[in-house]
């Protein structure tokens, strides 16, 4: 199982030294052992960061890393404002330098992104949306980290996403805690099962910045042909290809419904069972056995002015 270097080996130290001294304080007060560990790992992580900077020498923001390190432990807010002096390109996906080395960055390929010290979240696709990244494995070792990060971004964005990479074998208890934390902290929990998936999720948030909701809204003005295909697909075991076949063989719904069973059976893709099911279905009365038209209509009157959305997903039996 892979653990992100900035998280697993020196994460806590790295985080606390740069911007979140309170984590360090917490660690000090809670357990000496942990503090020692974080101190010793701090060095490791800085050197790791140094290597990264060598790899990406053009990153203008990288110099703030050392500056930030020298800042006195104190108000993190003032620290972050002092850093955002350079021009911020808000059309790009902004990435907190703390995320350097996160493998998910490799998978952001379709949008421009840049490190930006001044952001509170880990990833900021838009001004109103912030994403915190959390590896479950890391959370298991350092549950306090998340609380501190959440404090840091409360009230900063309209949409606060907690992107959790499920990389821990026994994820169920952790998932439960994370669900609860997100409800309390009013964050939206999104899960990814690999770094690639996580990268694509971050990328999509940027890409969908100005996306109209059409994709997930009802389309009423479909062509009659496609509506009919959809209707035929409602019959159990009839799939899209079958529906297309039926319409091309018979033409109209009337001809399909009035075709003898034998003709239906001869359609490619139709066995006797499927043909008979369709044949029977199209002949079924709409009203269930024992329900009279009056009953049904009476219910209709009661429903008037009521825009009840009927759940179409209730299958019988």
């Amino acid at each position: 199982m892979k653990i992100f270097p900035f998280h697993a080996t020196g994460g806590a130290g790295f985080v606390s030294a740069v911007e979140r001294p309170c984590v360090l304080n917490y660690l000090k007060s809670s357990s000496i052992g942990v503090q020692d560990k974080s101190d010793s790992m701090d060095g490791a992580s800085s050197s790791g960061g140094g290597q990264l900077r060598d790899v990406l020498p053009n990153l203008s923001k990288s110099k703030f890393y050392d500056q930030a390190k020298q800042l006195p432990p104190g108000d993190p807010a003032s620290a972050s404002t002092s850093k955002s002096s350079g021009p911020v390109n808000y059309s790009a996906l902004l990435v907190n330098p703390k995320q350097k080395g996160n493998p998910l960055l490799k998978h952001i390929t379709s949008v421009a992104w840049q490190f930006e010290e001044g952001i509170a979240a880990d990833y900021q696709p838009t001004r109103t949306a912030g994403i915190l990244f959390l590896s479950m494995q890391y959370h298991n070792l350092n549950p306090e980290y998340l609380h501190e990060r959440i404090k840091g971004i409360s009230n900063m964005y309209d949409l606060r996403v907690l992107l959790v990479q499920v990389d821990f074998a026994n994820s169920e208890p952790l998932l439960r805690t994370l669900n609860r934390i997100c409800l309390l902290a009013q964050m939206t929990l999104v899960l990814a099962w690999s770094a690639e998936q996580a990268g694509k999720i971050v990328e999509t948030y940027k890409m969908y910045e100005n996306k109209p909701p059409d994709m997930i809204m009802e389309r009423n003005a479909d062509e009659p042909y496609f509506q009919m295909v959809k209707a035929l697909c409602c019959v159990p075991s009839v799939n899209r290809a079958d529906a297309v076949t039926l319409l091309s063989v018979f033409g109209s719904l009337e001809k399909i419904a009035k075709a003898p069973l034998e003709k239906l059976e001869l359609c490619p893709g139709f066995g006797p069972a499927k043909a008979e099911r369709l044949w029977r279905a199209l002949r079924k009365p709409f009203l269930r056995l024992g329900v009279t038209q009056e009953d049904a209509l009476k219910a209709a009157e009661e429903e008037e002015g009521d825009d009840e959305e009927e759940d179409l997903n209730d299958y019988d039996g």
């Binding site: 379709s110 309209d158 949409l159 169920e172 998932l175 409800l183 009013q186 964050m187 939206t188 929990l189 999104v190 690639e196 998936q197 694509k200 999509t204 948030y205 890409m207 969908y208 996306k211 909701p213 997930i216 809204m217 009802e218 009659p224 042909y225 509506q227 009919m228 959809k230 209707a231 409602c234 033409g251 109209s252 719904l253 009337e254 009035k258 003898p260 069973l261 001869l266 066995g271 279905a281 199209l282 002949r283 009365p285 709409f286 009203l287 269930r288 056995l289 024992g290 329900v291 038209q293 209509l297 219910a299 009661e302 429903e303 009840e308 009927e310 997903n313 209730d314 019988d316 039996g317």
Partner: protein, 710 residues
């Protein structure tokens, strides 16, 4: 009513008033026993609830007893036998509308298909009524694995397992008295048929091999025999792992089913129809879709042989000539005999009809009998139960055109019940063919299943099935649950966790957990469907409008995660930043989460709910056929507002076809809608290519979600 057979009498005595799970062999006709049993309770002083699902068996039973089936509204006031669906029973019990404490007993049909809501209904019954009987019956022994039978027995809170296989000594002696005279006709296949059969089997075993190769560890039990068994058996084997199969595997399974159909029709029909069935498989479209069996040499020889067989001299099915011989023989006698030919499929009946009457041009599809000398010959598809058919025709000679275990059993039972006249049964089967093999497999499978059950029964110690029914309390407060949600497991689990579950027709959300918290539950397939159709967008809008804390509960399982519609879900979160998402790996986890969410919060307010929700709305799905309701709702001109009117005034598709545009306008509410519905019903439809050319779909940066991490 004919006399009861000995085993039926004993069965009845075993079952009356006790807790039991009865599993009988198929074809033994336990329906009759059930009828007698229930008839005994047809008295207002009793109240016996029959929990059904509207199956055909249940409809027949209700009809015989003269009580309404579970698809109709039921009333408990008059006592006697009441058919009710599990969902209605649960809702009624939770609303204290059914006097469960004074119910005599509960009868459960199709015990092999017990689901969450049935289990919930039985638990509620047991909690409030520790003495009433629970009797569950099934005639599908192969549906009970060792694990399954224990699960069912826990569900019905009893350890009394009654097994009635065909080899039960009482059954054997009852059916061995008067037996029909059986003539087995072993017909030999022609050379080309044998070769085709070999080729098909080879192709089938290729599919099975590929399936096992692609899914190591998943499908180890799968073999050719399994693939040849009924599609339902195969499906049951595959269901637990279905979501883990890739598209290639699924195509292989579809191909295996196609090959199986071909094998069957090879045994049933003539060369021309067989060739016609092959035709669609030779198209380029199918070749692209198929899993690659078309490239094998066996496939080539299959096509060549089938073509050659249908060459200048058309080869007729050897069974047909055998059948004609038998008819010739039997019709020679001067007596006025009635002969009944039973084939598995209606299609075969029609083919035989045309062949035997030498009337190729016959267009009257409904004609199911003809005269041969003095004999009346009927052609009927095999149905279960066979008894009404036999009683109606009272034939003396029966020809079984397809080998079928259940049909044979039913003939035995019918003969035992009606010793006079003695039946002569011709059993026409291809010797050494797949058909014969399938028949034997079906017999063996049932026998194996029973033997396993007998062992299970022996190992089932007293008290091993726990009768812990739990307690009903409102320790963790109240959750309002939409009545449609009772199909899922979650309400049952919430109830087990000592939450009071209040059924209510919710307009918004599925669960109201606290005053401000409203939950919409979605399985992954629901999530995909409702994101595509726009329903979830509407639901989220409504939740956000009515509740401070709208929650989307996503229930996912193991490999479901590769199917998650992430991009659409992300768009939803962007549009509804206040919508929280709970990820739950199982219904149990969901129940725990919901209970946890309740802690320290106000109870959901019925008043608040009543302001935006209403009790007791008759639901569309209770009054209308599910398939047709969905079908009609997709038609042009029909929308959620006029759906009910179209359905109840329209009556059926056939009736809709007879209506003109004006009448349809009346149904749909507007002239435009009526017009579009009218043209959709009658006009030939084809994809409007031009329209899609003029207005190309805008799909910037369309990217496939990575399906798997390599």
């Amino acid at each position: 009513m004919t006399r009861m057979l000995e085993y039926e009498r004993q069965l009845l005595l075993d079952m009356v008033g006790v807790n039991c799970l009865l599993i009988s062999a198929a074809g033994l006709d336990i329906e009759r026993v059930m009828e007698s049993l229930l008839r005994a309770y047809l008295d207002p002083r009793n109240l016996v609830l029959v929990v059904g699902t509207g199956s055909e068996q249940e409809l027949r039973l209700a009809n015989a007893l003269g009580v309404p089936p579970s698809t109709q509204k039921c009333s408990y006031d008059e006592g006697g036998v009441v058919f009710v669906t599990a969902r209605v029973l649960v809702v009624d019990a939770l609303r204290d509308r059914v006097p469960l404490a004074s119910v005599t007993g509960v009868v459960m049909l199709r015990a092999h298909a017990i689901l969450a809501q049935e289990a919930f209904a039985l638990r509620l019954f047991r909690q409030r009524n520790p003495t009433g009987f629970i009797c569950a019956v099934s005639d599908a022994p192969s549906r009970f694995s060792s694990h399954n039978v224990r699960k069912v027995m826990r569900t019905i809170f009893c350890d009394n397992l009654l097994l009635w296989p065909r080899f039960h000594s009482v059954v054997v002696s009852a059916l061995s008295g008067v037996t029909p005279e059986v003539v087995e006709l072993h017909v030999t296949m022609t050379q080309s048929m044998l070769k085709i059969q070999t080729a098909l089997l080879e192709l089938l075993s290729y599919c099975v091999r590929e399936l096992r190769r692609l899914n190591p560890g998943l499908l180890d039990e799968l073999n050719v025999e399994e693939a040849l068994a009924s599609p339902r058996t195969l499906q049951r084997l595959l269901d637990p792992v279905w979501h883990q199969l890739g598209p290639k595997s699924r195509q292989l399974i579809a191909d295996a089913k196609t090959l199986r159909t071909l094998l069957r029709s090879l045994c049933q029909s003539d060369s021309a129809s067989f060739l016609a069935q092959l035709a669609p498989l030779r198209t380029a479209e199918y070749a692209q879709r198929s899993s690659g069996w078309l490239l094998l040499p066996a496939a080539e020889s299959l096509f060549v042989l089938a073509k050659g067989r249908d060459g200048n001299e058309k080869e007729i099915c050897p069974k047909w000539s055998a059948l004609a011989d038998v008819l010739e023989e039997e019709a020679k006698d001067d007596g006025e005999n009635k002969i009944l030919i039973l084939a598995e499929e209606r299609r075969t009946c029609r083919q035989l009809m045309r062949y035997l009457t030498k009337d190729e041009a016959s267009s009257e599809d409904d004609q199911t009998f003809f005269k041969k000398n003095n004999c009346l010959v009927f052609l009927e598809p095999l149905v279960s139960p066979l008894e009404p058919l036999l009683a109606a025709f009272s034939p003396r000679i029966i020809i079984l055109y397809d080998a079928n275990v259940v049909a044979v059993r039913q003939l035995e039972v019918f003969q035992a019940r009606n010793p006079e006249p003695r039946l002569r049964v011709y059993f026409v089967v291809f010797g050494g063919s797949v058909e014969e093999q399938l028949y034997l497999t079906a017999l063996r499978r049932e026998k194996d299943a029973f033997e396993a059950l007998v062992r299970e029964k022996a190992s089932l110690g007293a008290g091993e099935v726990s009768v812990d029914v739990g307690v009903e309390s409102a320790k963790h407060g109240i959750v309002l649950v939409d009545v449609r949600e009772f199909r899922s497991e979650l309400p049952n689990l919430l109830h087990q966790k000592e939450v009071r579950v209040e059924p209510i027709t919710l307009k918004v959300g599925d669960y109201i957990v606290t005053r401000d918290l409203c939950v919409e539950r979605k399985s992954v397939s629901d999530l995909i469907g409702s994101l595509n159709s726009g329903r979830l967008h509407k639901q989220a809008t409504a939740m956000q409008r009515n509740y401070k804390r709208p929650v989307l509960l996503i229930e996912f399982e193991g490999k479901d995660v590769t199917r998650l519609p992430m991009q659409r879900l992300q768009l939803l979160t962007l549009l509804f930043p206040r919508l929280r998402i709970i990820w739950s790996p199982s219904p149990h986890a969901s129940a725990e989460m919901l209970v946890e969410l309740k802690a320290g919060h106000d109870e959901p307010s019925l008043e608040h709910a009543a302001a935006s929700h209403r009790y007791d709305t008759p639901l569309l799905h209770e009054q209308f056929d599910t398939t047709m309701r969905e079908f009609v709702s997709c038609l042009p001109g029909v929308h959620s507002k006029n759906l009910r009117s179209v359905l109840s005034r329209g009556g059926s598709l056939v009736q809709l076809f007879t209506m003109d545009a004006a009448k349809l306008a009346e149904l749909t509410g507007t002239a435009a809608a009526g017009q579009s519905l009218h043209s959709a019903l009658h006009k030939a439809l084809s994809p409007n290519l031009q329209a899609s050319y003029v207005k190309p779909k805008k799909q910037p940066l369309k990217r496939k979600w990575p399906s798997k991490k390599t």
